[in-house]
């Protein structure tokens, strides 16, 4: 019998739709895998006790002849930043420990409506602030490729879950790379959609002008299938875009079938192809560029000069927005309350926030409060917003010359635990490859492009103009198919086998 955890999501969905496999079997297989390996990986903060009941209901509906969505019955992992009825939603923070939201985030509601079965909630850096999951209040997630290494962040839990075959599909959120960087360092695929392409309703806000929910998986097609379900206009999010999106799954299937990038103009971002990129990542990137050329893509070098200021602008805009968003954790309506008799509500708030927030969250709230203070606002926050305009203009100019931009998705392979956690600036600098897309709002994808000198995954980043997410899926699927031909399968299958503990 096929190991249901090893096959792609699309293949599993096919077996479910044809009735060869039940949702209960598929869900049980993944729950068993979680029980066997998650003690080591710690991708999950919570496993859904109701998953098998949900799966059974899908099986009953299918048996009754109901016409279900093509992914109905397939299991999915949900990043803990997303609100879920019946499952705690903590955003990786002590201040929300045990909090069960009274509503589902829109992307979660849409997955449920399509009949997908939530396996549980995945670990993350607290409030999505971090690039390693070391800032999770519940302990780090380990990289399935090397358990001494970080799985990326903030969405290290979702990326590790798919890389460790604990789930075929997962949801992430990407504010400065929290989907793409974890995908890169775990040999997975992750997509940050165009800003406004997926509803943010029910995603616990970090920086509202940057946050975007998106898919995480082992293949490009699987991400596309999830994107098709979660995307589209939502009246609950005032920044949600009202437009008709094409089928991303169709784009991915076309791309894989085409086997060629003939006619595609591809730009290599000069500023992300040099300084700060590790030699082995650079080497894999050069090979990827040659592969694109070999497949008929026309490659030119382009410049996005304002990238020089992207990290600085991001680390002003993000803390400013985060300090406002996190003001809602005031110990009144939900979350932790720490109080002593005789204290005023203001004392209680300050004591609760002191006890409930971790070091990185405090650092960014204080930084954001500083950046928004009278006397500093224009020099810092105001200038950062102007830099944002420059970056958008640079991307507009680049996309006037090319259809797609490429760069390494992360400057290095997965680093070791403890390597950067004591040095916030080193951690922030690691985000240079992914941050520009969030500032500009454009869609981006990370997909595997090989292994570094240390045998750990290296990710390729594709960027497309606003609203052109389909280009990522078309080209991404072509590149993935050509690489799989070289490797004899997708990269995820080269990961070392994890020891399964007996239950």
């Amino acid at each position: 019998m096929t190991d249901l955890t090893r096959i792609d999501g699309a293949e599993l969905a096919g077996l479910l739709a044809s009735g060869e496999v039940s949702s209960v079997e598929a869900t049980q297989a993944h729950l068993d895998r979680i029980a066997a390996v998650d003690g080591e990986i710690h991708a999950f903060l919570h496993v859904n006790a109701g998953a098998l009941d949900e799966a059974r209901r899908i099986d009953e509906r299918r048996a009754a002849g109901e016409q279900l969505h093509e992914l109905a019955g397939a299991p999915v992992a949900i990043k803990d930043v997303l609100c879920t009825i019946g499952m705690p939603s903590t955003s990786g923070s002590r201040i929300l420990e045990g909090w069960v939201p009274p509503y589902d985030a829109t992307p979660v509601a849409r997955l449920k409506a399509a009949g997908l079965v939530a396996l549980g909630k995945t670990n993350m850096d607290e409030f999505a602030m971090g690039s390693s999951t070391e800032h999770s209040a519940y302990g780090p997630t380990r990289n399935p490729w090397d358990r001494e290494r970080i799985p990326g962040g903030s969405g290290g839990g979702s990326a590790a879950a798919v890389a460790a075959f604990e789930a075929p599909f997962a949801l992430g959120s990407d504010t400065g790379g929290s989907i793409r960087q974890p995908a890169a360092v775990t040999g997975s695929v992750g997509v940050k959609p165009t800003y406004g392409g997926v509803s943010r309703y029910g995603a616990i806000a970090l920086a509202s002008s940057l946050d975007q929910v998106g898919p995480v998986s082992r293949t490009v097609l699987d991400s596309a299938l999830i994107h098709d379900v979660i995307g589209g206009h939502d009246p609950h999010d005032s920044t949600s875009l009202q437009r008709e999106w094409p089928s991303f799954a169709a784009a991915a299937r076309e791309g894989a079938a085409a086997g060629s990038l003939q006619g595609l103009k591809v730009g290599v971002i000069r500023e992300l192809d040099s300084e700060g990129i590790a030699p082995d990542v650079h080497a894999r990137f050069q090979e990827a560029v040659r592969l694109i050329e070999g497949a008929g893509g026309e490659v030119v070098e382009v410049s996005v000069p304002s990238i020089e200021y992207a990290v600085a602008a991001y680390y002003l805009i993000l803390p400013a927005e985060a300090s406002s968003n996190l003001a809602r954790f005031d110990s009144v309506r939900f979350g932790l309350r720490v109080e002593r008799p005789g204290q005023t509500v203001e004392d209680v708030m300050a004591a609760s926030r002191e006890a409930g927030f971790g070091a990185e969250v405090k650092r960014r709230i204080i930084l954001g409060t500083y950046a928004l203070s009278a006397g500093y606002y224009d020099a810092y926050y105001g200038s950062a917003q102007q830099v944002r305009t420059l970056i958008q203009r640079d991307f507009d100019a680049a996309f006037a010359q090319v259809d797609l931009l490429v760069s390494p998705a992360a400057p290095t392979t997965a680093f070791r635990f403890g390597e950067k956690v004591g040095d916030p600036l080193a951690m922030y600098a690691n985000d240079i490859t992914t941050i520009p897309a969030n500032l500009a709002g454009i869609p981006g994808m990370a997909l595997p492009m090989g292994l570094g000198d240390d045998g750990l995954p290296v990710g390729l980043q594709l960027l497309a103009p606003l609203f052109e997410d389909a280009r990522l899926y078309r080209a991404g699927a072509t590149i993935e198919a050509l690489l799989a031909e070289q490797w004899g399968g997708i990269l995820a299958h080269q990961a070392p086998q994890l020891t399964e503990v007996a239950r």
Partner: protein, 99 residues
């Protein structure tokens, strides 16, 4: 070099309603100084003629029809509250004795 002082960090922590410990104030004073030095370069990147961007895809006047939408019941709204009386969230005294 930026001149972030302990007093400044304490003031910011008060504004942000976080009761930092003395050790935290010490480490944040150092860290914040270094971070501010690193990010201050944004001001050299732009001139006054560059407009600011607040959202990547500008939308104007997003409204919905003026009809009642779905709302939470009292029970749902209070489900995660640290303290409530069934109709209201309960908090400590708003004013201190000296006020």
């Amino acid at each position: 070099m930026s001149e972030i002082t302990r007093e400044q960090v304490q003031h910011l922590a008060g504004l942000a309603r976080i009761a930092l410990t003395d050790d935290e104030v010490t480490s944040l004073t150092t860290e914040l100084g270094a971070i501010v030095d690193a990010i201050a370069k944004v001001s050299e990147a732009v001139g006054p003629d560059v407009p600011a961007t607040s959202h990547p895809v500008p939308l104007a006047n997003v409204t919905r029809a003026d009809v009642e939408g779905g709302t939470l019941t009292h029970e749902q709204a209070f489900a995660g509250a640290p303290s409530h009386d069934g109709e209201r969230f309960r908090v400590s005294a708003i004013l201190g004795e000296e006020q």
